[in-house]
Symmetry: C2
Subunit: 226 residues, 2 copies
């Protein structure tokens, strides 16, 4: 793997996890130090992150971490509902045995990690949270992986990462909500998908995302209102 690729993944994670907070100016000299590489790989990473909308760049005035806002979060969530809703529908219609198998496997892997993390003493390490996050992403990707559209999958990936910027930092801070069982929601969703009930599954998926949005809006709203 090239240094540019490594830098890309590291900066990307630091933005998602919040280590590099929204609107933070990204000075090249400082990033060079932080990630221990030269200018070229850093610039390459930042250019790619710009296409992901994780950083913004004004010509000759450098890069900053992209801002976040409640409005932008809802835009990402609603667009995700559209993209993944359609992709899930197509997956359920066209998905073969291999697709089903991957869905089951990804769900199982997610559950195992969720269980193991839940028994860990707080605060949970960055590495464990990241591992859990990887499997969460893998599960959601597996659901729509049978849609046979590379464009839908690409867009879904971009939107997943974007919404994660809102979800992840609150995952660390707040304790799990007593009135919401994410594990159960995932299981019901998978069961419905495997039963090939496209309408119900799409509804469940979208409701899942919108409920998350409402909770996050309540958590973030008061803070940004200050």
């Amino acid at each position: 793997m090239t240094l540019a690729e490594q830098a890309y993944q590291q900066v990307r994670w630091d933005i998602i996890s919040g280590a590099l907070p929204p609107n933070q100016p990204l000075r090249l000299e400082q990033l060079k130090q932080r990630y221990g590489v030269g200018f070229s790989p850093i610039r390459e990473a930042l250019n790619r992150l710009q296409s992901d909308r994780l950083v913004v760049n004004v010509a000759l005035r450098g890069f900053t971490v992209a801002p976040i806002s409640i409005a932008e979060m809802w835009d990402a969530i609603e667009t995700r509902c559209l993209i993944e809703g359609d992709a899930l529908r197509r997956s359920i219609e066209k998905g073969d045995d291999a697709w089903e198998a991957h869905v089951v496997a990804a769900y199982h892997a997610l559950m195992l990690k969720a269980k193991s993390v839940s028994t860990l003493p707080r605060p949970v390490s960055e590495a464990d949270l990241r591992a859990l996050e990887e499997r969460h992403h893998a599960f959601h990707r597996a659901l729509i992986a049978g849609c046979q559209s590379q464009w839908l999958l690409d867009f879904a990936d971009k939107l997943y990462v974007e919404t994660e910027r809102y979800r992840f930092p609150n995952l660390r801070d707040s304790s799990p909500l007593p009135d919401r069982d994410i594990g159960n929601e995932h299981q019901v969703l998978m069961t419905t998908v495997l039963a090939r009930d496209a309408d119900t599954a799409t509804q469940l998926l979208q409701t899942h995302y919108r409920n998350t949005g409402r909770i996050l809006a309540d958590l973030i709203g008061p803070l940004t209102a200050v």
Copy 2:
């Protein structure tokens, strides 16, 4: 504007127009000469184009122009129908007077250019074709610009460029089809949009794209089958 930005726009156009054909290896030394800039701006441009899926990159083995195929074209078209269909619907619901004005203006500008180009002696110059293409893009963007979703607009832009790779090269080669009046299709579409008839407008837009797809598939298919 930075050199990297200029290089980006130039390479992008050369790929869309077909001057740099699909699968063409992009040697840095050669591009450096062609566009008259150093390594850094070229690499920056290629990295951005990779995010647009116009070039592909294998680590340490360099960049090539992204391949095209009938299957990929249909994927782009169908995804575009989904994205722009929803965006158009939202535009019609939420669009204000300023949005309507921009639609009318963009349509008018497109018609003017189309008329002027149609009177020009063949072959039409690259510059004229590009100018016409810019206005065509602007019109389609204006239609959905009222949707109030930056994500939908971003995705629509990406897909527009991708489908243009299939449409544009055939625009130059083949004469206009006698049984299809694109100008009329655009006018009917705009009238329906301004009448705020979301269902009909969405149908027209999607049919417009799918008809184009069928024609292009017939033109391209025989060639690639060789």
